[in-house]
């Protein structure tokens, strides 16, 4: 089976636990080398967070479990990179 090396998720989460705690918990998962979380929208009670996770072998189900445990919900999987290395999407004339 191919290895997932990068995941970019669009999530909605309550303010607490904060993104520091979420990133710490995610970074402790096996197969994950780094986590990047940025908030791009904030409401009175919730915030939209883009979660980027990179590693040697990411387990989506484990990542999802942590996000849900923290009270968050994954709205969409915006990007996935799998295989032997990480590549970015190719630029095409249509872009």
């Amino acid at each position: 089976m191919g290895r997932v090396r990068r995941l970019v998720l669009d999530t909605l989460k309550p303010h607490e636990p904060d993104i520091i705690e979420v990133s710490e918990r995610l970074s402790e998962l096996p197969g994950i080398s780094a986590v990047n979380i940025s908030i791009y929208e904030m409401d009175r009670k919730v915030e939209n967070a883009k979660i980027t996770v990179e590693g040697e072998n990411i387990s989506y189900s484990h990542v999802l479990a942590i996000i849900e445990e923290m009270g968050g919900a994954v709205h969409s999987i915006d990007e996935v990179v799998a295989g032997k290395m990480i590549i970015d999407d190719a630029v095409t004339p249509q872009d």
């Binding site: 909605l12 607490e16 636990p17 009270g71």
Partner: protein, 196 residues
């Protein structure tokens, strides 16, 4: 990490999520204050009625303490549980997730229990402290001495509560202590005038 440290860490996390300390402090101060003033009422009622047997004062006092404790525990449990469920459900609607089995859900449930226990114990213990002289009434020359000592303990407890409030609000401790003692004195004076 040892199991005890684990539990402590977990409680700290839940405190961050559910604001347990802030609400706990508020309920503690409010209910201990209520407890002391209520028992001042019981003491003044017994004093004015001329009750001279310490056992009678102890039994009326203890039953009052227990009633306050049960009222505090039950009332706080039902109220906090209802409010927190409402908040959790609303948050769940916003995140489109069932939050019951998440850290926030667990923090909410722990908060309800801790706050209910504080709400039940604080008036019970505060009132019990005031009654202590009646448990050792034999050490006093007359029953009047016991009453006055008990009232003195009540005012001291109120002063201590005032100091606690002053410490929390980072204002003048003594000033807060005096404010809470005044409430006790007003209660005693009015009861005395009613009796006269």
């Amino acid at each position: 990490m040892s199991p005890f440290r684990d539990v402590l860490q977990r409680v700290r996390e839940y405190d961050d999520l559910a604001n347990i300390s802030e609400i706990g402090r508020r309920y503690f101060a409010m209910n201990a204050f209520d407890g002391v003033l209520t028992i001042i009422g019981v003491l003044m009622g017994n004093l004015i009625a001329g009750v001279d047997k310490p056992q009678i004062v102890v039994s009326t006092g203890l039953t009052t303490c227990i009633a306050m404790g049960v009222s505090g525990l039950w009332g706080a449990y039902l109220t906090e549980a209802a409010e927190r469920k409402r908040d959790l459900d609303e948050l769940g609607r916003q995140t489109l997730t069932d939050l019951n089995d998440t850290r926030i859900g667990r923090a909410s449930r722990v908060a309800v229990v801790i706050v209910a226990v504080i709400d039940g114990l604080s008036p019970f213990l505060a009132a019990l402290i005031v009654l202590i002289p009646f448990f050792v009434a034999g050490l006093f020359p007359t029953i009047t001495w016991v009453y006055y000592t008990s009232l003195g303990v009540a005012l001291l407890t109120l002063f201590g509560l005032g100091l606690f409030l002053g410490y929390i609000s980072r204002k003048n401790l003594f000033f807060y202590g005096v404010k809470t003692v005044i409430a006790g004195l007003i209660s005693i004076v009015i009861s005395f005038l009613l009796g006269a």
